[in-house]
């Protein structure tokens, strides 16, 4: 399995923090409220390790926005929040009433989809900028599911024992703080390609 050394982790987390910082300012502009986004940690893990990581004690289902990216490396990226937290975010952002998870309307789903889209595009855009490469991004889709279904979905999206570049993400809006994850499901080859880009970036900055 590919592991990231400390320098690589720091560099990636810095790049992603630039990305989510931009996403936060876009989101703040949309909802006219101050939103903060941060990526405190970046690791690599196996898809199966995700099972217990994505949910919390409040909900056993997750809200996931997924988007496929291709370029020097291919990845299916996902922004995943525990379901209740996702609904909290969207309620705070669009000021909607308290619908239960079953009653969530198109309105909330569309909003969640767009929020995920903004965050994921910003992350990829930051990677592309810093690696000076071209990355093509498809359209996002949103779904509520269990972590298990998500893992099955990941297995189909990336064949050959996919790895996950896992980012913890914390979002805060009007005094509420919400924890979630950004996942990049990648093949071993793609992750190696990403690490190669990263090393190139570090070299270019005289850091390795």
């Amino acid at each position: 399995m590919i592991a990231l050394d400390e320098l690589q982790q720091d560099a990636l987390s810095e790049i992603f923090n630039i990305g989510v910082g931009r996403a936060a300012s876009s989101l703040s502009q949309i909802v006219n409220e101050v939103i903060h986004l941060a990526v405190p940690a970046v690791t690599v893990c196996k898809l199966n390790d995700l099972r217990d990581m994505l949910v919390d004690r409040d909900s056993d289902r997750v809200s996931a926005v997924s988007q496929h990216f291709s370029g020097p490396f291919d990845a299916t990226a996902m922004l995943v929040f525990p379901e209740t937290h996702a609904l909290e975010i969207v309620r705070m952002m669009i000021g909607s009433d308290e619908f239960s998870a079953e009653e969530v309307s198109e309105y909330e789903q569309e909003s969640l989809c767009e929020i995920g889209n903004i965050v994921l595009n910003a992350c990829i855009s930051a990677l592309a900028d810093n690696f000076s490469s071209e990355i093509h991004g498809g359209l996002p889709s949103h779904h509520f599911s269990t972590p298990l279904t998500l893992i099955q979905f990941g297995l189909e999206a990336v064949s050959n024992d996919p790895l996950v570049l896992l980012l913890k993400v914390s979002m805060s809006i009007s005094q509420h703080s919400i924890e979630g994850h950004i996942l990049f499901l990648m093949s071993v080859e793609s992750l190696s390609a990403l690490v190669a880009c990263l090393d190139g970036y570090l070299r270019a900055h005289g850091l390795s």
Binding site: M93, Y107, E114, N117, I118, N121, S125, H136, G137, P140
Partner: protein, 393 residues
């Protein structure tokens, strides 16, 4: 418009047949495709916009999420969704030409996908979806939901206020009747002493007046006791399974003396094992009151016959107490259960102050049951009471 220009014989392009807006932009942001849907809803014919910069056609999108999404697709090859839930999409599209004149724009969601254009450069494709109807539906739904919540909150508030008022009233009735009784007891006691002192020396007229005063005081005392009882019927009731037959036996035992005095015949019929749900003391008071009434309001020209029975029915245990007494006029059936409504003329044989039945009704309703009477004047009456019973099995 563009769709109409298709030469007859050849099918119109696919893009013109679908029911969403399609716009393709080249790497310079110029329009290279503008389907029929866009022409119909924007008011711009394809010929008017092809080759023009999209930003020039819609300057309002600059700096907005849609403008940024287009830029992101062309410059960074990243696709985006722009929903009307989070954004105002300033594309000035209208459902019908009339809407345009009334300035009621269509609500749209736009998908912006990065796409290679014909010249090999990076352009993008816009798919525009009309979501006006669903936005309206959602708004209506939210409005209704908020109305409902407000109505419910108002009802809850009223219920709480009523509860408080009820408690205060019960408290008031209790305190008033309790405090009123004190001086009355003094009056009755003193009347008794006075009678001892001068009872034998009274003239017949004075004696009659004295007896009227004493009787009035005693009646008032009994009425206050009744009021106290009525206000106590509001106190907490115990729940639980209670066997009915022993309660009936107890009530009859209590009335042994009255039954003997009235020379009444009492028949009891019902399943010995029948159970009901409620407070045993309160249930006992209900039975005692109803049986007591059956004896009290007997008819003088016949032997009192009283029947008490019960059976289990689908919606509870039905109890009936039937007599052959004076009966109640159909017009008075509802009035019979009101406080201080005495149906027999004053001075007639029966005592009572019109409190008993109102207490009975209050208790039965608090136990979750119902009470009603079937009767005609002079022909006796039957009181029916339903009481909750334990679920079968």
């Amino acid at each position: 418009m563009s769709g109409d220009t298709t030469p007859s014989g050849s099918p119109p392009p696919l893009a013109d047949q679908i029911d969403i807006g399609l716009v393709q932009l080249d790497s310079q942001g110029r329009v290279t495709l503008w389907n029929r849907w866009m022409a119909v809803h924007s008011g711009f014919a394809a010929a008017d916009v092809l080759g023009r910069s999209f930003k020039d056609i819609y300057p309002a999108i600059a700096g907005q999420r849609l403008g940024i999404a287009i830029e992101s697709a062309i410059c960074h090859r990243l696709s985006s969704v722009v929903s009307s839930a989070l954004n105002t999409v300033n594309l000035a599209l209208y459902e019908t030409p009339t809407n345009r004149f009334e300035n009621r724009p269509m609500q749209v969601n736009v998908m912006v996908s990065a796409r290679r254009d014909e010249a090999g450069g990076h352009g993008c494709l816009l798919q525009v979806f009309d979501v006006t109807a669903s936005v309206r539906r959602e708004a209506l739904l939210r409005e209704r939901l908020s109305d409902l919540r407000q109505a419910r909150a108002a009802l809850d508030h009223q219920a709480r206020e009523l509860e408080v008022v009820n408690q205060e009233l019960a408290q008031f009735a209790y305190i008033a009747s309790h405090d009123m009784r004190q001086p009355l007891r003094t009056i009755i006691g003193l009347l008794r002493l006075i009678e001892k002192e001068i009872g034998t020396t009274l003239t017949p007229d004075a004696r009659e007046m004295f007896d009227l005063v004493t009787g009035g005081a005693k009646r008032m005392d009994a009425m206050i006791v009744g009021l106290l009882e009525y206000s106590r019927a509001d106190s907490r009731l115990e729940g639980g399974r209670v066997a009915l037959a022993p309660l009936v036996k107890d009530a009859l035992l209590n009335l042994d003396h009255a039954i003997a005095q009235a020379d009444a015949r009492v028949a009891v019929s019902g399943d010995e094992g029948q159970e009901v749900l409620g407070d045993p003391h309160a249930l006992g008071r209900v039975l005692l009151n109803l049986l007591d009434n059956a004896i009290k309001y007997r008819s003088l020209d016949r032997v009192p016959e009283i029947e008490i029975g019960w059976r289990s029915e689908a919606d509870g245990c039905l109890v009936w107490i039937k007599d052959n007494g004076r009966g109640i006029d159909a017009a008075d059936h509802d009035r019979a259960f009101l406080i201080f409504q005495r149906l027999s003329p004053q001075g007639e044989m029966a005592e009572g102050f019109g409190i008993g039945l109102s207490v009975v009704k209050k208790i039965v309703e608090r136990l979750g049951g119902r009470i009603w009477v079937v009767s005609a004047s002079g022909q006796g009456c039957t009181f029916f009471v339903t009481l909750p019973q334990p679920a079968a099995g």
